[in-house]
Symmetry: C2
Subunit: 202 residues, 2 copies
DNA sequence: GTCTATAGCATGATAGAC
DNA sequence: GTCTATCATGCTATAGAC
């Protein structure tokens, strides 16, 4: 076998992975507007023509990127929190969601941008699918937490889940915009309290 | 005076307004990616070269657009709601915010996109300014409503305001994404209830 | 002061060489 | 099956005609 890191004439699958990695980097650094086929190939250190041989079109690259980024992201809400106190569980879950973004803001911002753009290109399926995964996962957790804490939701749990997802999205996007840690902290704490008030001891 | 609607050689100010109107249309129909100097001039029915004569650069057009769109938008939260019940006031305010977007979703989506893009171009001031206006207005209303209803906020009112703004943003953006009226309705209603629980009768 | 014609460049894509 | 050279198009911007 040839050395893997240098030399020409690699397989199409190898090129594909290589270009996807490069595309993520470009997206993080220059945003969606800067995501050009030439920037991606330059970043990967391969000739420009390779791009259309591997992906066929730029749209195909974007689709592949979305698939790759969304897969597994839905599990973020799934990490169960081990506590009997509903408010604490909620706060920790919100914090975890925020930490996910804080760990690599540019990356998350890029993913947001991708999803948004995908919606306009009538490539709605991916974004819709993502949202449904999130909602289902949150709803599952809301039920689990309320059972653990011995409380009952005063509103349909799917409504609570929808509010939790939207509100968390809002807080996260606000943080992405202003990077104000204290404000985000305060908002998540208050949101946990407010949401908790939507349940009463059975 | 010459007839105003046809003929060449109009004043630069006239051209400027004409191009701004055209730019908003283009933005609504084709998004920020489709907002090119050629598209704008074509839409306005003027020669392409006019553009750089009037605005100097595309960036100047974007800046002018943001100024125009943000001015007056901050007053949306300012419309006072006449009711003694805090939860009702909140729900009506959230509904009003949602209605504003529902009245012309494409337009609002375009404005969101503009502001987001402006942030990346280190043209932060406009977006920051907007947010501060909103926050101040919401805070003012929160105090007014609580006084009217004879209740006191259990948390710093600026924290409540931050949560209200973020959560409302999240709900609005969710609606823009999925256009699910029922879900938005449920979320605003629940949010009003949840926020109300952050205040107690004095 | 207003507008036209053109420059100069970057893009996405492809025909065909190896 | 892999890659290179090239194309046609669309972009922002400007030099200079009226």
């Amino acid at each position: 076998m040839a050395r893997s890191s240098s030399g020409s004439h690699r397989s199409a699958d190898e090129r594909r992975a290589q270009l996807l990695d490069a595309a993520v980097d470009v997206l993080r650094e220059h945003g969606l507007a800067g995501l050009t086929t030439r920037a991606v190939t330059a970043r990967a250190g391969v000739p420009h023509g390779i791009f259309h041989y591997v992906f066929g079109s730029k749209a195909a690259l974007v689709r592949a990127l979305i698939d790759r980024e969304l897969t597994g992201a839905a599990t973020a809400w799934g990490a169960a929190v081990a506590t009997d106190d509903l408010e604490t569980a909620l706060r920790q879950a919100f914090r975890a969601q925020l930490d996910l973004v804080r760990a690599d803001p540019e990356h998350q911002a890029a993913v947001f941008e991708l999803i948004r753009a995908a919606r306009d290109d009538s490539d709605v399926s991916a974004a819709e699918w993502e949202r449904r995964q999130y909602l289902a996962e949150i709803q599952r957790q809301l039920v689990a937490w309320s059972q653990r804490g011995g409380v009952t939701w005063d509103a349909p749990v799917e409504h609570v889940a929808a509010l939790v997802l939207s509100a968390t999205d809002g807080i996260v996007q606000t943080w992405v915009a202003d990077r104000d840690d204290a404000r985000a902290e305060a908002s998540t704490g208050l949101l946990a309290r407010a949401i908790t008030s939507l349940a009463h001891t059975a």
